[in-house]
Amino acid sequence: MSGMRILIIDDEDDIREVAALSLEATAGWEIITASSGFDGILAAADPGRRPHAILMDVMMPGMDGPTTFRQMQLNPEIAGIPVLLLTAKVQGVDQRRFAGLGVAGVLFKPFDPLTLASQISETLGWPQ
């Protein structure tokens, strides 16, 4: 589905860059990025460039993914934006913890750059 705007929040510059390029090149989406939970909330709240979905890392210094997600839910303007966690934590216990947060989905690192966009679409029920 073209015309989508995605916000990527990750503290790793390289991962932000690769993920952004992958989504732009494979799906033609518009990408905005933020390197911390705090910047992510600011970027999401910008009324002119509100994202259709947020792809967010779990382990970040300062506010981690789950904390950022909870903060977002307190802001009615951005609470409705679906959030996908992108994590290198693959153990069952972590997965169950993430599922309990109420996020739209959990995707795992290392992701496949060629199918990341379709994974996002599938999880969110977007037509592909």
């Binding site: 790793e12 390289d14 991962i15 690769v18 993920a19 390029l21 992958s22 090149a25 494979t26 382990m59 290198a88 934590k89 693959v90 153990q91 069952g92 972590d94 690192k109 290392p110 992701f111 496949d112 750059p113 060629l114």
Partner: protein
């Protein structure tokens, strides 16, 4: 951890026993006393130190587990993060999405890319194996059909097989009602797809990989037969070890991690089953065998109720023989927690000597008339030991009349072979607790359990005397002091004969006989009612099961009862006893 003081006290007890035995010997020989005592003292000191070390190690283990857990989780996360960037960058470059790349550079990118994938699989496999072997990935057991699981695995692998030009087929020879077993379906599916993927990878195009399902009374057998290049005889077992591949180039060429079969084995062992490889007899290629237990309740296989893994309660004296003290400690700890009493031997020679002495002691042939000395119920025997090997030890045990009747369970890194020989059971190392306990339990039950005669008697003093008498006569017997204990003991497997006092602290002999009458396996049990009570004709009628004798304690001495029991046990082989019971 509460078990530790008893390990220590047990070790000390054995040491004291050894001291006693050696002291007797020393008295008969006048020479070299001093030296031997010194040596003994040294040995005692060493065993004390060893016990202390083990105690310390066990205490540290649970802390270590937590640390290891966190470490693995962190390392896995830290490795994945840079890999995410590498995989992403390489993936985009190789896709050509970012413009054309020179063919030579393209080849380099392909190499970097496929090795990144391999590294990712490796991290996943290490994590998987680690979680399984530490017991942090408990099985979610439910009733499954092996046929359905195999079908699902085949469906999953069809694409891979098709692109390799290989045909895969499924044959189920097991009867419809015997294909159900207790398993974690996701884990079994993981094993089957892994084995199929291996078979496909190592098969030439145009060949067939066949999955065949069979069953016998207690277990399911599944084999995967390929027509590949085969596994050399000396590698048949090693392929299940970590990072072992038949040819060192296989890992890179076939994209494996070297952990697939180790994971399979771990999963199958967790299920209490076995996995092994055999060369095909009628041509090239390999057959991978899976043996899976259908659970203790194989007969009502249609019932969908989940069956918890067995936590068998054992009893009886078990001799553990292994040259590795670490393994002895682990095995002894596991058995002791589950109610067994233990003796240990560090070599085949020592095992034979200990077994001979203990059996003589139990039979009352030695002078230290110890009524508590019980015969050895089973021997756990390692195969590869310096000095006498396990096979040689087994042979000698079976040749000596005193020890020939003791069932032996082989503990070995190699899988059960045709050479089970005179052994009654087999547990493959590394084993888990359930596997060890269930195999030992099975062997003890099938060899007549911990005893062939069950004495139900609340008077401990009388029970001790009678048990001693029976053991002396070479009859295996055990004792239940309460109605509940008697029921529990019968549930483990029917004894050949029950000696019963009618008065019991938690009920009476009448209720026990009523209960036994309702059990198909017990309703024709030969009984000897040995009681204070004057029994009416009605009482006798109620107490009668199979051939039943009524003896009054006021008139018949324990010794006479023992003689009668001995006669009954020796005269009646099991089937004869049942037949006679029916006629009565």
């Amino acid at each position: 951890m509460t078990a530790l003081p008893s390990i220590v006290s047990w070790l000390l007890l054995v040491s004291v026993f050894l001291l006693g035995v050696l002291t007797l010997r020393l008295a008969s020989r006048a020479r070299g006393q001093h030296k031997e005592l010194e040596r003994l003292n040294e040995a005692l000191q060493r065993s004390r130190e060893y016990a202390e070390q083990q105690k310390h190690k066990l205490a540290q283990r649970s802390d270590l587990d937590t640390v290891k857990d966190e470490f693995i989780s962190t390392v896995s996360h830290e490795l994945r993060t840079p890999l995410t960037s590498i995989r992403g960058a390489l993936g985009l470059l190789t896709s050509g999405m970012l413009g054309d790349v020179d063919p030579k550079a393209q080849n380099m990118l392909r190499i970097a890319s496929s090795n990144t994938e391999r590294l990712i699989r490796l991290i996943n496999d290490i994590l998987d194996l680690e979680r399984m072997e530490s017991g942090r990935a408990p099985l979610k057991l439910r009733r499954c059909s092996i046929q359905d699981l195999a079908r699902e695995a085949l469906d999953t692998m069809t694409t891979m097989a098709d692109s390799a030009g290989i045909q895969i087929e499924l044959q189920c020879r097991a009867p419809r009602d015997s294909i159900y077993f207790d398993a974690d379906p996701d884990r079994i599916l993981q094993v089957l797809t892994n084995l199929l993927s291996n078979a496909i990878k190592f098969s030439p195009a145009g060949s067939t990989v066949s999955v065949q399902i069979d069953s016998d009374t207690n277990s399911l057998l599944l084999k995967i037969v390929d027509q590949g290049r085969g596994i050399p005889a000396d590698k048949l077992e090693a392929v299940f070890d970590r990072f072992q591949q038949v040819e060192s180039a296989d890992a890179s060429r076939k994209g494996g991690t070297g952990l697939g079969l180790a994971i399979c084995r771990s999963i199958i062992q967790q299920h209490g089953g076995a996995i092994w490889a055999q060369p095909n007899l009628d041509g090239p290629g390999t057959t991978l065998w899976l043996q899976l237990s259908r659970s203790a309740r194989a007969s009502d296989s249609a019932s969908p109720e989940p069956v918890a893994p067995p936590a068998e309660r054992g009893e009886g004296l078990v001799l553990v023989c292994d040259d590795d003290p670490g393994i002895r400690v682990v095995v002894m700890e596991q058995l002791r927690i589950h109610g067994y009493e233990i003796m240990e031997a560090g070599s085949g020679e020592e095992a034979i000597e200990l077994a001979r002495r203990q059996m003589a002691r139990a039979a009352g042939l030695t002078r230290d008339n110890d009524a508590t000395a019980q015969p050895i119920a089973a021997i756990l025997l390692d195969l590869y030991m310096p000095g006498l090997s396990g096979w040689e030890t087994l042979e000698q045990l079976k040749q000596s009349p005193a020890t020939a009747s003791i069932p032996v369970v082989i503990l070995s890194v190699i899988p059960p072979t045709e050479r089970l020989g005179q052994a009654q059971g087999w547990v493959q190392k590394p084993f888990n607790e359930n596997l060890l306990l269930s195999e030992l339990g099975r062997v003890l039950r099938s060899s007549g359990g911990a005893g062939q005669v069950l004495l139900v008697e609340q008077d401990q003093e009388l029970a001790r005397t009678m048990l001693h008498g029976l053991h002396e006569a070479g009859v295996r017997a055990d004792h239940a002091a309460t109605l509940q204990q008697a029921v529990d003991r019968c549930m483990l497997g029917p004894p050949d004969l029950v000696i019963l006092e009618t008065a019991l602290p938690d009920g009476d002999g009448f209720s026990l006989v009523d209960w036994m009458r309702r059990q198909p396996a017990l309703k024709t049990m030969p009984l000897v009612i040995y009681s204070d009570r004057e029994l009416s004709d009605g009482d006798m009628h109620r107490l009668r099961l199979g051939p039943t004798q009524f003896l009054n304690k006021a008139r018949i001495r324990p010794k006479q009862v023992e003689e009668l029991v001995l006669m009954l046990v020796q005269r009646q082989s099991k089937p004869a006893a049942v037949a006679q019971g029916v006629r009565d």
